[in-house]
Amino acid sequence: MYRKQVRRRRAVLTLLVIGSFLLLTITYGHSSGGVQRGVSTIFSPLQTVADRALKPARDLVDWFDKTFDARGENSRLKAELVTVRRQAVAGQEALQENAQLRKLVELDRGPALAESAYKPVTGRVIARSPTVWNSTVTVDVGSGDGVKVDDPVVSGDGLVGLVASTEGGSAQVTLITDHASAVSAKVVPPGVQGVIKPDVGDPEDLILDFINSSKAVHGGQAVVTSGWRAQGLASLFPPGLPIGEVTSASIVEQEASQQVHLRPYADMANLDLVQVLTGGSRR
C-alpha cells in the first residue's frame, strides 16, 4: 500500500516536471496566446478590485518604508519628512494622485509629445511581477482603450517601458529595468547616442552603452530617448522623452567600456498612474 502511494507520488511529480519543461519549451520565445490571454482576461477585474482594496495598506507600508529610509538622512530630509507626515494626516493620498495627474498633463503638453501623433491613455498599475528577473507591471487599460503591443509607457517623471501584450481591459508593460529591455537614447547636451540597458537586480541603475564618441559625458546630465528613424525603420519611442540622469561617468569607464551609469527619473518601485502613448507615427 505504502509502495503504491510512493509510486503514485513519484509519477505525479515526474508528470509535473515534464509538464513544466514542455510548457517552457513550447511557450518560450513566442506568445502562448490563448491560455495566458484567457486567464488574464478572467483575473483582470479581480486584480483591479484587489489593487483598489489594498491601496491604503500599500500606502501605509510605503509610509513606514520612507520613514525608515529618512532616518539615516540629513536634517533637510528630516524636515521634509515632517512635512510629509503632515501631508499624510491631511489626505496625502489624494494630493499625490493629483500631483501625478498634473505631471502627466504637463508631459502631454511637453515638447516631446506635442508634435507627435501619440494619443496618451492614462492607466493605473494593478499588478507587478514578484521577481527582479522579470520587471513587468500590469495596467488597467488594454486593447479596448486603443492600447497596442509596443506602445511606449511613461509616468509623470519620464519613460517607464513598453507594452508587451494586451487584453481587452489590461496590458502588460515591460519596464526599462527588465533584462530584455533596450532603449536608444542620447545624452543632452553633448548628443552622445547609445542604447540603455538595465543592471538586473538594481532598479535604480541603468547603463548607457554608447557609440564611440569624443565628447565626454558628466554626472548630472540628462538622458532622453533619441527616437531615430532610418531606412524605413523607426524607434518605438518618440524623441525627447526624459529617461534619467547620469550618475557616474568616470573617464576610465567611458574609454574602456564605452558606458556610463544613470538613474531613471521614474520611480519604478512605486508606479501608480502611467500613460500609454497610443497611435504613434510609426504605424
Binding site: 503514485r8 514542455l22 491560455v35 525608515f68 521577481t131 513587468t136 508587451a164 543592471d199 537586480g201
Partner: protein, 183 residues
C-alpha cells in the same frame, strides 16, 4: 491531507488569493528596497501541511497562474515552486515538526532555494543585460521576509485546512506502545 471537494475548493481559493495578494500588494510594497515574495512561503506551508504531493501540485498551480497573469514564459515559475513544495512535503514526511520555529525556518530556506531557482531558470533562458550584485541582497532579504511572514501564513493555513489534516501527535498518543517479545 484528506482532500474532499470542500477542501479542494479551499485549496483553489488559497492559491488564487495568494497570487492576487502577491501581485497587487506584496510585489508593490518595498521595505529596504526589496519586496517580499510570499508565494514560496505559501507553497512550502501547503507542502508542510499536506505532504509532498499537495506541495508539488500547489507549487505547479501557483507558478502556472503567476506566469499566465504576467504573460511570462509558462513553466519557469511552476518548475521552481513545485520543487519547493515537494521538498517541503518530503521534509514533513521524514521528520516530525515539534517546534513552532521549524515551519518559518523551512520557509526561509526554501524561499532562498526558490529565488536561486528563479535565477537559474532565467540564466537558462538567457539574460540580455548585466546582472547587479544587489540581486544577492534581494534574495537574502526575500528569505528573511519569508521567515517572518511564514508565521501567519503557516498557522493561518493550518487553521483553514484543519478538517483535512491528519494530526500525527494525536494518532501517536492513542496508539498502544509496541513491546517486543509479547505474544
Amino acid at each position: 491531507m484528506i482532500v474532499t471537494p470542500k477542501i479542494f475548493a479551499r485549496l483553489v481559493a488559497i492559491v488564487i488569493l495568494a497570487v492576487l495578494l502577491q501581485l497587487s500588494f506584496f510585489s508593490r510594497v518595498e521595505f529596504l528596497h526589496t519586496s517580499a515574495d510570499v508565494l514560496p512561503a505559501v507553497v512550502v506551508s501547503l507542502g508542510l501541511l499536506g505532504g509532498s504531493l499537495t506541495g508539488a501540485v500547489a507549487g505547479f498551480s501557483v507558478g502556472f497562474l503567476v506566469d499566465c497573469l504576467l504573460v511570462a514564459p509558462l513553466g519557469g515559475s511552476s518548475l521552481v515552486l513545485l520543487g519547493a513544495g515537494y521538498l517541503a512535503g518530503l521534509f514533513r514526511e521524514r521528520f516530525d515538526i515539534h517546534s513552532a520555529l521549524v515551519p518559518p525556518l523551512v520557509c526561509m530556506g526554501l524561499t532562498l532555494f526558490a529565488e536561486l531557482g528563479f535565477a537559474a531558470v532565467q540564466v537558462m533562458l538567457g539574460v540580455d543585460a548585466p546582472v547587479s550584485v544587489l540581486i544577492v541582497r534581494d534574495m537574502l532579504l526575500k528569505s528573511i521576509y519569508a521567515f517572518f511572514l511564514a508565521w501567519p501564513i503557516y498557522f493561518g493555513l493550518r487553521r483553514v485546512l484543519r478538517p483535512a489534516l491528519v494530526e500525527e501527535s494525536r494518532v501517536a498518543r492513542r496508539r498502544q506502545p509496541t513491546v517486543l517479545g509479547r505474544t
